[in-house]
Homo-oligomer: 416 residues x 2
């Protein structure tokens, strides 16, 4: 059997399971989530044992320590994963929500939210994404086909066994959670080509993964997480506030997609802002790559190339550019950004509005850190990812992003 | 200059125009629509002159008379097109609609609808689609790149001149309406590959066009209008009602996407329904292609192949199949349908609910004709098409389908 055929079968099984799962009510789905939380705790020892295999293999193969840390599961981490499963059980179920109206023709129209059907997730080494993705899909009545990275394959197999056991105990079809056990590039490509068998494919991971999916997928995709975010310091900015926001947006967690990569500074305030900014960044060992004017004001800055302004470092590196006008800042952002999150620090209301209206990104902030772009911070409870596309969903994706709508129409022999 | 480069320039111009158009308020956009209605009437003679060139060319080249009729513009038809432009001006503008909430962190979040940006439409011979698409895009603050069929190229050039004149008179950038004048397949392919330059591509036309777009496009697409629709006659159906709905759904306008192609009949009612159905269909000269049981009950029926059940005839041809259970009907529909519209005729409430829940199509009817799947009939005012995909929009697409959302966040130096 080829990898393609193998994945075709997984998808067909998931499709059949999705049909019965779609009929389960919220109470039933929540009971599955509670059973999953219990099963993962019961199976914690065997999951940790499987995880140790992956960790040993990772060490032998020189996997970077940051990645090994993300891969590691402990009893505490499993407990925290289970707590977040229970949190999802408490969220409102979007499925079945809707509205009803009547038309002069005599028909009554009911527009309701329904599951998408089969959701595929391609991700990398973090095993918590396995649980998280499965649980968010189940909660919204979707079957899920998971394709994690090779680094976590033993852990993922063990976790999915536990998840399937919980689903079976609740008398639902365990095929509603499927794991692709082949972790070669071939299996990812096969998954991307399952037109008609997968309703949406969501890549959760780094830039390379997302680019590969958006360029090769023949199935509908939701692009997530590419975050080349900007902070613009207007000439009317309060300098202390600007420094505090820059520090939070760049240094609180540089590896995440809502951290900033570039700071744009109005020329009228650059002389006051940049030396202070450079001092604070130096404390966090942030390497600054700047335009010519930046390099004058910040002697330790390296020279930035245009490539730098396109780069999502996800690291303690930041690009800086001095601009002459708000409009130059806007143009720079709309050209270089991945349309994720941008912020302006200003005390000028006209400039604040202009910036929010004219910057074409999912989230546009006035005097707040871009780090708030997050399902939890926005009050959505859960987050499947942060969409950087315009169709279907934009910005932090709550549960409803995993649903579509359907029209149920009633007539009394009505004809047109 | 290659076709690709030519279209790249059109798209870039449209993008720049979209940025200013997005700032126009509803009043401004409506005044442009009113000016368009006026301009088309003023320019009616030259548009009709251009249309005559297209008609002459079509006759010489043996274009079918039905298509020639769709291509033809008269003073009356132009007046009716202008009336529908004014109707769109009266519709509510979705742009700017939204909701505001605050979070414990101190940030205030405003989620608002904004234009998508640049919308591309690929369509065939009907010149009214040129006006209709341009007007719906303008109303929602989007620039539009139009690529119509070669049969209507002179008409389209003349119409777009008139539209651009109206836009200029209102002091907006006329590049917000662009026409691709090259009508070779190459130009359609180039348009499909404008990744990053087009926010959504909507094919409006026949099955071949839609398949070509969904298979080749590298830009986000909304699939529209493929309608292999079904009518299922339950064993509890009122026969008169079933006949009336079947007649309406099949014969009132067989060429449209919401007309039915197949009738499924429960075995328990086939003996009563099918002879009567065949008699009515014979009056409309509908060719029936049936399963073995159908052929017994309807002697004039031809034998149906599985291919027949996959076919959207858009003509006076209908497939018929006798099924043993509601579940068989559901399975047949979910396998063969394009997920557009399906209907059940039943007087059994349990069966009605089962059918609506388990049939995976955009619109699922109980004792009503599938012909109601239409933006106007649903009360949306305008219709850009009928989406048969699950992401972004499903079923009849109103104005909001041409918008996306954006988060505007305010803080007071807020950090996370």
């Amino acid at each position: 059997m080829t990898v393609y055929q193998e994945i075709e079968i997984l998808c067909d099984n998931a499709r059949a399971a999705a049909a019965t799962l779609a009929l389960a009510d919220s109470q039933k789905k929540n009971s599955v989530l509670m059973r999953i939380s219990q099963a993962l705790l019961e199976d914690a020892d065997s999951i940790i044992e499987a995880n140790e295999k992956d960790l040993a293999f990772a060490s032998e193969n020189g996997v970077p320590s940051a990645m090994i840390d993300r891969l590691r599961l402990t009893k505490d981490r499993i407990e925290s994963i289970c707590a977040s499963v229970r949190d999802v059980a408490l969220l409102e179920d979007p499925v079945g929500k809707g509205e009803v109206w009547s038309r002069p023709s005599g028909i009554e129209i009911n527009r309701i939210r329904v599951p998408l059907g089969v959701v595929a997730i391609i991700y990398e080494a973090r095993p918590n994404v396995t649980v998280d993705s499965a649980v968010l899909c189940l909660k919204t009545g979707n079957a899920v086909v998971l394709r994690g990275g090779k680094e976590a394959i033993n852990t993922n197999k063990s976790i999915v066994n536990s998840l399937k056991r919980a689903v079976s105990l609740c008398e639902l079809d365990p095929h509603c959670i499927e794991l692709v056990t082949n972790t070669d590039r071939e299996s990812a490509n096969a998954l991307m080509s399952m037109r008609g068998k997968i309703d949406v494919l969501i890549p959760r991971g780094g830039k390379g993964l997302i680019q590969s999916v958006t360029q090769n997928a023949k199935v509908p995709v939701i692009e997530t997480g590419a975050g080349n975010c900007h902070l613009y310091i207007d000439d009317s900015a309060d300098i202390d506030m600007a420094i505090s926001i820059a520090l939070n947006a760049k240094c609180s967690r540089p590896s995440v997609c809502n951290a900033i990569e570039s700071v744009l500074v109005h020329a009228g305030v650059a002389g006051r802002f940049l030396p202070e900014f450079a001092k604070v960044m130096a404390e966090y060992k942030v390497e600054i790559r700047g335009c010519a004017k930046t390099c004058v004001l910040v002697p330790q800055a390296k020279s930035a190339t245009d490539e730098d302004y396109y780069t999502e470092y996800n690291d303690f590196i930041g690009a800086v550019k001095v601009v002459d006008t708000l409009n130059d800042a806007r143009a720079h952002i709309n050209k270089h950004s991945t349309a994720h999150s941008e912020a302006i620090v200003t005390s000028n209301e006209v400039n604040a509005e202009k910036f929010q209206k004219r910057v074409n990104s999912a989230a546009v902030y006035v005097t707040a850190s871009t780090r708030f772009t997050d399902g939890g911070e926005f009050g959505f409870g859960a987050e499947i990812g942060i969409s950087t596309q315009k169709l279907h969903v934009r910005g932090p994706m709550g549960l409803s992003a995993l649903t579509t709508e359907k029209y149920l129409i009633r007539g009394e022999g009505s004809i047109r």
